[in-house]
């Protein structure tokens, strides 16, 4: 039980008044001569038991009357059970998590998802009282305190943002906050579209006594979004991501993708391609007429046809066009026939030119040139090749043969390597640093072991670029990979970084030179609008004993239900009236 006006309980001291009056009144009664005292004594003897009971009953009734009136003045709140969103509640620490991540901008049934969430958030905070402590968390993860009115104003002004919200982490933080509050009630209200990807990162730790209530996601809708755009020499690879909303279409319709490079400047290029619709992980490769672009940094944008979620329908990208590298392969076919063929293609496309700036060799680096070194085909020459590397100051070397596996690109702008199977390789071993060569950079791995490494102006591969070693030469990304190797990677050109935020491109400059670019866009996981099942969501948001995923009506009913209280002052006043009537009856009854 709690009280709205607990200070009124000080009035309970008045409960002693009847007893005190009883004692004080008995002290000094007036004295009167009365001859038939013997009759009085007899009457009192006969009535003594009844009078004692009556006095005791009156004392109890009067004391109870005062206690009940004081309690009614203190406005007691008692725990009530049953469904219903009304009534008061005990002071509660509440965090309202309003998920305004990009996915909240989806339109479902003609209405923004965020609008539905905002109404629920408004209602949750609107139900709080001055005795509650309330915070609001948006997808930026910031816990906002303040008055109820201020938070309501914040909710009203909230729009869909560009930051993804990891609900597991958000709930965990919110639960820690409310758990630290010295209030009887602790609740976290999660108002989110409950994307599967938002609750797939683990399970939130929620302390006992903290209730996590989440609104059930609405109807699932199909969506296609651009997860990433990578532009390499001669081609743009657009990664798509989305959700199918459970449609049973055997063959998803193709997705038209439009690429614009250099919008608003001379030499603007536009290209279109078709991707496989609605399948996460799908990619569209659009060939670019690179020869038309002058050297320098270029910006572009990929666009999809508008759908229910507009935030992921366009994504900018940046690309640096460099002068063609002058490349040669070592005589005697040390680099292999596939490399020679790729170089021929690049030369035909004017992506490279003959020369000795970059040398691709089969184990023996050339002094004074940027080198791309493949392991020698003959295992007996591996030692000689390692010594050659060492003599050049490269601390990396080929070791024992490694296990087969897929390539995982870990940076360097070589996404075309992802998933390419490697069947034969040497383990690349090295300290990774060299005082002379500078920091080494691992650009790709196989089974967690380095497979593509750049150390200064030398790039080492763990496998030869041959179909007997890897499937890469037979994949469509082989020529772009060779292009990236000779034009960018071996030269140590800066990558284009990706960051989460409103779609835009920011350049980094050093002096008058632009050295890097950062491309902002929504997190690709926002495109997958597949909602989590209630069971999975409640398990991720604290466990099924702490978290509940409820539809709108039940959410409204369950809010503060753990601490819901009914004001029983009215009932107490009725009880006080009954006690007063009983007291009056007993007091006026003379026998």
């Amino acid at each position: 039980m709690s009280f709205i006006h607990p200070l009124a309980l000080l009035g309970l001291a008045a409960a002693a008044i009847p007893a005190l009056l009883h004692l004080l009144q008995r002290r000094v009664p007036p004295e009167i001569d009365f001859p038939p005292v013997r009759y009085l004594s007899a009457a009192e003897r006969e009535s003594a038991r009844r009078l004692r009971l009556r006095h005791l009953l009156l004392l109890i009734l009067r004391t109870a009357l005062i206690v009940v009136i004081v309690l009614a003045a203190a406005r007691p709140l008692v725990r009530v059970t049953g469904v219903g969103g009304g009534g008061a509640h005990e002071p509660t620490a509440l965090v309202v998590i309003l998920d305004n991540s990009p996915s909240s901008g989806a339109v479902v049934d003609g209405r923004l998802v965020l609008d539905r969430l905002r109404v629920a958030a408004h209602s949750s905070i609107g139900r709080t009282t001055s005795a509650d402590r309330v915070w609001l968390m948006l997808s930026d993860g910031v816990l906002r305190g303040g008055t109820r009115e201020a938070l309501l104003a914040t909710i009203d002004s909230t729009r869909s943002g560009w930051q993804r919200l990891d609900l597991v982490q958000a709930v965990e933080r919110a639960a820690r906050l409310v758990e630290a509050q010295p209030l009887p009630g602790r609740e976290v209200h999660v108002l989110s579209d409950l994307q599967n990807t938002a609750v797939a990162t683990g399970r939130a730790t929620v302390a006992r006594g903290v209730r996590v209530l989440a609104t059930a996601p609405g109807r699932a809708v199909a969506n296609r979004g651009i997860a990433a755009v990578s532009v390499s020499e001669g081609a743009a690879v657009i990664s798509l991501r989305g959700s199918s909303a459970g449609s049973d279409e055997p063959v998803p319709p193709p997705v038209p993708v439009t690429i614009r490079i250099g919008a608003g400047r001379r030499g603007e290029v536009a290209a279109r391609g078709l991707g496989t619709g609605g399948v996460s992980g799908a990619a569209v490769t659009v060939s670019l007429p690179a020869q038309t672009l002058a050297p320098g940094w270029w910006m572009g944008e990929a666009q999809l046809e508008p759908d229910e979620l507009r935030a992921d329908d366009r994504r900018p990208f940046a690309w640096r066009v460099a002068p063609p590298a002058r490349v040669m392969a070592t005589p005697g076919g040390g680099a292999g026939s596939f490399v020679a063929a790729a170089l021929a293609v690049l030369q035909d496309g004017r992506r490279i030119a003959p020369g000795r700036d970059v040398v691709i060799s089969g184990g023996e680096p050339l002094a004074g040139a940027r080198a791309i070194v493949l392991p020698p085909e003959d295992p007996a020459l591996v030692g000689q090749a390692n010594r050659a590397l060492e003599s050049r100051g490269v601390l990396w070397s080929w070791g024992q043969p490694g296990t087969p596996g897929p390539v995982v690109a870990s940076g360097g702008g070589v996404p075309m390597l992802n998933g390419v199977q490697v069947v034969k390789r040497y383990q690349l071993q090295g300290a990774g640093t060299s005082g002379e060569q500078g920091a080494a950079e691992i650009l790709a791995t196989v089974n967690g072991e380095p497979w593509l490494v750049r150390a200064g102006n030398v790039v080492l591969l763990g496998s030869r670029l041959d179909t007997a070693w890897t499937a890469l030469p037979a994949s469509p990304g082989f020529v772009p990979f060779v292009d990236a190797l000779v034009n960018r990677i071996v030269a140590g050109a800066a990558e284009v970084d990706q960051a989460e935020g409103a779609p835009r491109v920011e350049f980094q400059t050093r002096g008058s030179d632009t050295i890097a670019a950062t491309v902002y866009g929504p997190d690709a996981r926002e495109s997958d609008l597949t909602p989590a099942t209630p069971a999975n969501a409640s398990a991720a948001l604290g466990g099924r004993d702490r978290a509940e995923v409820l539809d709108a009506d039940r959410f409204a009913a369950e809010r503060f239900s753990g601490t819901r209280r009914a004001d029983i002052s009215g009932a107490l006043l009725v009880l006080a009236l009954l006690l007063a009537a009983a007291e009056l009856g007993v007091a006026t009854r003379t026998r």
Partner: protein, 295 residues
């Protein structure tokens, strides 16, 4: 004197008492009382018809002369004259409890008893009965032997006036002494609040009855002794024994009234069992009404 009936015996005793001393009051009461009766109130004694007089409203129908009514169609009532030699002794309780009244506007029980005793004595003397007086509290205070000679009433009144309010009441002792004073058979009238041990008092009264006396008891009570009232809480003290008790009159009123009723009923029952006439009289009862109890 307030307007109303002219018969003093029917007025409020306190109002009548304001007219003067005991003699005046008693004479006035007796005059009024005798005007309303037609024979001796004390039945069982010799009476003779004297004359007729015209009927007045209020006259008892049993004294209507039916023969005259049948002959002349006029209403006459018969009047009688007693011839008696009754010896009567009036015993007045003068204990301290008798000197109490519930409100100053009422007579004390003693004052009421004195005036009633004087009136009784006057009636008895007028019908030529030898009448005497004994006052007592713990002991016999005044004794006026029963006589019928001139000046006897004055002696009785003086005996009443010269008896102060006593302290305690040990009536049975005084009553036992009285048995020796009442050697000849006659009538004994006791005026008391009976606030003493009932069994002991009854023993003495039974003895008188056994000696052939006609015994009449007037149990006097102030109305405030019948209905308990007072402040919310009060300490009541017995003026004779100084015993006190703290009560809330409102709480105890009904139980007290029941106790009083039981006490009166017990006295009445005990007296009837022994052939003693018992009359419960409150001190606001007009004297005439009290006297009429004897008829």
């Amino acid at each position: 004197m307030p307007p109303g009936p002219q018969r003093l015996d029917l007025l409020d005793p306190a109002d009548v008492a304001r007219l003067g001393g005991i003699e005046i009051v008693a004479e006035g009461v007796v005059e009024g009382f005798l005007a309303g009766v037609h024979r001796s109130p004390f039945r069982g004694f010799s009476v003779e018809f004297t004359e007729h007089r015209a009927y007045q409203p209020g006259d008892e129908l049993r004294y209507l002369d039916w023969r005259i009514l049948g002959r002349s169609d006029r209403l006459f009532v018969k009047q009688f004259e007693e011839e008696t030699n009754l010896r009567s002794m009036i015993l007045v309780d003068a204990s301290r409890s008798m000197a109490w009244h519930g409100t100053p506007e009422r007579l004390t029980k003693r004052a009421y008893a004195d005036r009633l005793a004087a009136a009784l004595a006057l009636i008895l003397l007028r019908q030529r009965d030898a009448t005497g007086l004994v006052t007592f509290d713990e002991q016999v205070r005044q004794v006026v032997p029963a006589r019928v000679k001139t000046g006897q009433w004055s002696r009785i009144v003086r005996g009443l006036l010269e008896t102060p309010d006593g302290q305690g009441t040990a009536a049975h002792a005084a009553l036992q002494r009285l048995t020796a004073l009442l050697a000849r058979r006659g009538m004994v009238i006791l005026l008391s609040d009976l606030l003493f041990d009932r069994e002991l008092a009854l023993t003495a009264l039974r003895y008188l009855r056994h000696r052939g006396h006609q015994v009449i008891v007037f149990h006097l009570m102030d109305p405030a002794e019948v209905e308990l009232s007072g402040p919310p809480e009060v300490r009541f003290r017995d003026p004779e024994s100084s015993v006190s008790v703290v009560v809330r009159p409102r709480e105890l009123a009904r139980a007290y009234a029941d106790t009083v009723r039981r006490e009166v009923a017990a006295w009445r029952k005990a007296c009837r069992r022994h052939g003693i006439a018992y009359h419960h009289v409150q001190t606001d009862l007009p004297f005439g009404m009290a006297l009429r109890l004897l008829t």
